[in-house]
């Protein structure tokens, strides 16, 4: 990527489906990416779709979308749109993505890619057959310090890797009175799909393929209100906690936990990875810090270094020229959008793409089967 500011006159139309948490994040990310990154084409917020008209209108006004619609199919069909962002509940991804691919659009889909492995595979195959570019919204992977982590592991700075411990714990489902939502529907996939996909994706990002898994899944809150403020209860069938013991293709073992009833935790997406020569520890709760231990050196001065994010960790410098000034959550989404735009423009794709989304889904599905059979299962 060359210096920011060199974006040529070219533009590219973006359509965003959904106007919730992620819909807004996508709109903001495309807008900001155009300002901070040097891109092959400037994204234009062409259209937003929400089946609730008021939501679509509000998003249009806020982000300056040129048009809005209640019908996502209209958005996909629009000739001015080259990129379709899908930010709807997981169960809708499959249908929408296939339609967008069929229309020849590049597709930016929120995570997890699909409700199950078969759907994810269908999406991946369709995308690859169509030759369009894809991106899955695992935004945490875009943290410059995680890029550094991957590079350091890859460069052998930890020596031979020996162990991985990964966690994604939050508490937004801890309150038993938290009512049903799409995340609690079978298609939502429970915590394993919702948070587990993030940490599985991160594990793969750092250490490569996972080849086998043992999983313990459990539903802690057995029933919840059918809707906010209602007394009526509905049985929950998805898991609240997932504990995985995994083996990577490179011969390393590890554990992965996903938990959305971890009272007190709001963003404990973290890991520790150890090797024969060092260790690295991270938590998204302090996303601008990475702890690094290197064996050897002066014995009396050993310990973990708290590396602070700075312009030494691209593309941090595009956001701020000064170290330690802190990136935020939305900045990660901006990087994701910028990298997707670059990939569409012909630069090497940084992913994760639909194939990677499918690979993650395979681990999710294998974990589910493992939990049912209480046995170690290979990831196909």
């Amino acid at each position: 990527m060359v210096d920011p500011g060199s974006t040529m006159g070219a533009t590219i139309g973006v359509g965003v489906i959904g106007t919730g948490f992620m819909g807004k994040a996508h709109a903001l990310a495309y807008q900001t990416a155009a300002s901070l990154f040097s891109l092959p084409a400037r994204p234009i917020l062409e259209m937003v779709a929400d089946n609730v008209r008021a939501g679509a209108e509000r998003a249009q006004r806020s982000f300056g979308f040129r048009r809005m619609t209640e019908d996502w199919r209209e958005l996909i069909a629009d000739p001015k749109i080259a990129i379709v962002s899908i930010t709807t509940p997981t169960g809708l991804h499959h249908e929408m993505a296939l339609a967008a691919i069929a229309a020849g659009k590049h597709v930016h889909c929120e995570k997890p890619l699909a409700a199950n492995e078969a759907d994810a595979r269908g999406m991946m195959e369709a995308a690859e057959a169509a030759g369009i570019a894809t991106q899955v919204g695992f935004n945490y992977l875009k943290n410059p310090l995680l890029g550094l982590t991957r590079e350091m592991i890859s460069a052998g700075e930890l020596g031979e890797i020996t162990s991985f411990r990964g966690i994604h714990a939050e508490d937004y489902m801890a309150d038993p009175e938290m009512p049903f939502s799409w995340r609690l529907e079978p298609a939502g996939g429970g915590v394993l799909a919702d948070l587990g996909s993030h940490i599985i994706g991160l594990a793969r990002f750092l250490l490569g393929p996972i080849v086998s898994v043992f999983a313990d899944l459990e539903t802690v809150v057995k029933e919840r209100p059918v809707a906010p403020g209602q007394a009526e209860r509905r049985t929950v069938t998805v898991d609240d906690i997932a504990r995985l013991s995994v083996r990577f293709a490179r011969g390393v073992g590890g554990t992965i936990e996903a938990n959305w009833v971890a009272s007190g935790r709001s963003m404990q997406l973290g890991f520790e990875v150890y090797g024969s020569k060092g260790g690295l520890a991270f938590t998204q709760e302090r996303m601008n810090e990475l702890l690094f231990y290197r064996a050897g050196g002066t014995r009396s001065q050993r310990g973990f270094v708290r590396i602070e994010a700075g312009p030494e960790h691209p593309p941090y410098g595009l956001f701020c020229p000064a170290r330690g000034h802190q990136l935020g959550f939305n900045d990660l989404k901006t990087i994701e959008a910028a990298e997707f735009l670059a990939a569409i423009g012909g630069e090497p794709a940084k992913g994760p793409d639909f194939r990677e989304g499918w690979e993650i889904q395979k681990v999710v599905d294998a974990a589910r089967h493992s939990a049912e059979s209480r046995s170690v299962l290979p990831v196909p």
Copy 2:
């Protein structure tokens, strides 16, 4: 401020002078503010000025400014521009701001407001006489957790305040080979003006007026290269470290340190404030955390609470609906821009305005005189 999305059709033209660190930050902030906040008028990036043409062109392309110029006077004179953002070196603020005020523009000026108290007063008086709105870029004050801090102090949650300890330490001047720049010119004001103004502003934001000061200022690196890579040296006359002992009008004492040669510190803008019933501690290095101790309660469970920023701390929720997901540096500038736009639109101004910038400058100047006379001096 009502719900985002309700910004009406009105627009307001913004002109930004300067395209460096802060020039970009302002441009991005106005752009993002329009998307996330409900504003009385949508800001339009009307023109950018930089006396280096390439810089102006690059900024125009990156942020989509409608026009650019090499002549800041042209920008100020432009009838489509209602807000002038001044992001140039401190020594230029006075002339530019007076010109903008004379042209009837609202002025958003970077900190410190001016090179000295007389200039700052002149700017304040001109602005108040003209009745235009002003804003000084002390963006750290916009952190939602510092808003919470001020509220808690004001609500008496710490009891009677007894002490304040404030620090702004970084290390960007620690290397003796760091060459001269405008920050090292007398008009730049040294660390006392550059970083000191931030922490003095924060002290006032939390505890109100400072009425007397004792200061110890020192220049650690006595001479530096005249320019990058040059062997020739030039004597440094501004201070590298400032240590203040202050008294607040409310009868509380405290200390304030500003230091730009604090090797290892990249963003240690922090404070601890104590009262008869509790204490609060903060550092911008972990800007999404605030430590709070409340006396009393169960003795065996006492300690500092690590409060994580979340939607409970407005306007965090406009950026992200989930607690603990982290705001970043640029988000603070966005809040600053949004609040200034709201103030222009008639909502109560949250400041800091030029009057507050002048008040801060008075403390800076009193500290300089105190250091020269080695005595405690009143702040006029």
Copy 3:
């Protein structure tokens, strides 16, 4: 336990077998316990045994043991000795403990209790049949903050417990050149017995019995020097990393990791435990701090409280009357010795006793079998 200082004239003879890390810790603990705690009888360091004469002599001089011996059987047979401390390698515990029990001594044995479940059971049964008092050296359980943790869980301060995550990671075996020692012998039990027993014991201390386990064990360093500085290698058969997925009798699931090749970690004995109403997190790396989150309360002030150890957490106050002044590692051993002396004197035993040591060993053995069969196994 009444106020310190009331220890009557009675004394009780202590014999310590072994003079390494733990031998010294025991000697110091009995000595200090007598000074800080009010005990039914003052312990007298009667005899120390080490099969290396110089070691025994040195320990005698250092700690003021009245006598020393090269023959541990002589120590056990000594009529002036009522308490036998066994601090030798694990493989020797069984024989020594049985002999001490047969001689009618109270036995304080280092952890893990034995090399396998059968030995542990034999020791437990002999002790219970003989009616002597026993103590196993899981000193970390004596941390006043872990006592608080157990009380808080038990009192329902976390609501219904939903999850446990426990870790004991260090790096003293990370260097592949670390030579063979008794810890690497089969009787040493590998990391699962060495560190795993600590965290399994802690899990049981906090949440009660573990009823089933799935384990993944692996040997990372396949061969090591036969002795310090020797080129000859010997194959390692014990595990370097153990990852367990467990279920507690109370219906809660959890994970437990033991790792002695975790480069950079020197004392990561920690856990996080979550419930419907709160969470607790701890690491022995900061043994004087406990993090506590309580759901509810003022939303804008939520977060984990960092509870600092103080006299509110007995028996901290016997060591120091002021909060936050820090206990150290040896203080935990002192508490262990004092509680054992109190139990011998008739106060309720706080354990862990040999029965508990055997229960822990059952989990260790079940985990080994699980790893071999790659299946979930019940803990008998």
Copy 4:
């Protein structure tokens, strides 16, 4: 100091005056020092003195003192006592120390050395004239990590030192209902003498003599109950907060704060020291950790290293052979006692001795005069 265990048959009698917090700490320290350190002579707890008989009796029983007395003069006169430990309120130090010196005893006196500079000088002069060994109880200086800090500064690892920021803040006087005690008497010296002497001593330990001072002292709680639970109030004349701006003889400036009304702080004895090539930060709240930043090196891996105390930092290894296992508060006192015993035996004294206690007192007195005159004063 040679290997532990080599203490010869020689013994040395110790008498302790006072049985409160520090009296117990001294007794325990001498006892433990004998076990862990190789000493020229084994200390014998010969006699304890307390003007309250019950206190003396209790201490005798607890620590095994051979004798006890209500009359401290009897203790000083006792021919079997070679070391007199003075742990009484500050106002009594002068008389007791002079008596002990006159009797030819070595004197271990708690801090601060005296109620004022004149008394301290008298004690120092008497001790030096008598040729006896002295030790002042600034135990925090005995932290192995502070020894490392001093070595690193001295070895130039931070380059040229540029700044010091020192704090000792606690909250034991924060409650306005905390009644009068000797610490609030004029002879107690207020927070400046009580906590300030610790951080002044630490500043001198690390950076050498302080040559001038400006001080702001204030009494926050103007009156307090005359005794526990009494309604009657008495005016407080000593300071609750002291803020100093100092200059060191080496040409470095710094700040020092002492505060015993810092609600929430139990042991914030800390500092940050910066140099041209690095920085170090420490707080006694985490006394087993030292943060170290070194400029240069790989830019993307810069940050503060969290050095964990271990056997690489003597004499940590005498307490525990394993890194990260944590020393505690009492261990520092043990090191102090051991070093004093070694000095008496002829090894180089590590101090702080009475001369150093006097030097610290000179800074305290100069600070008081500075606060009265509101001017910068030289330290004589």
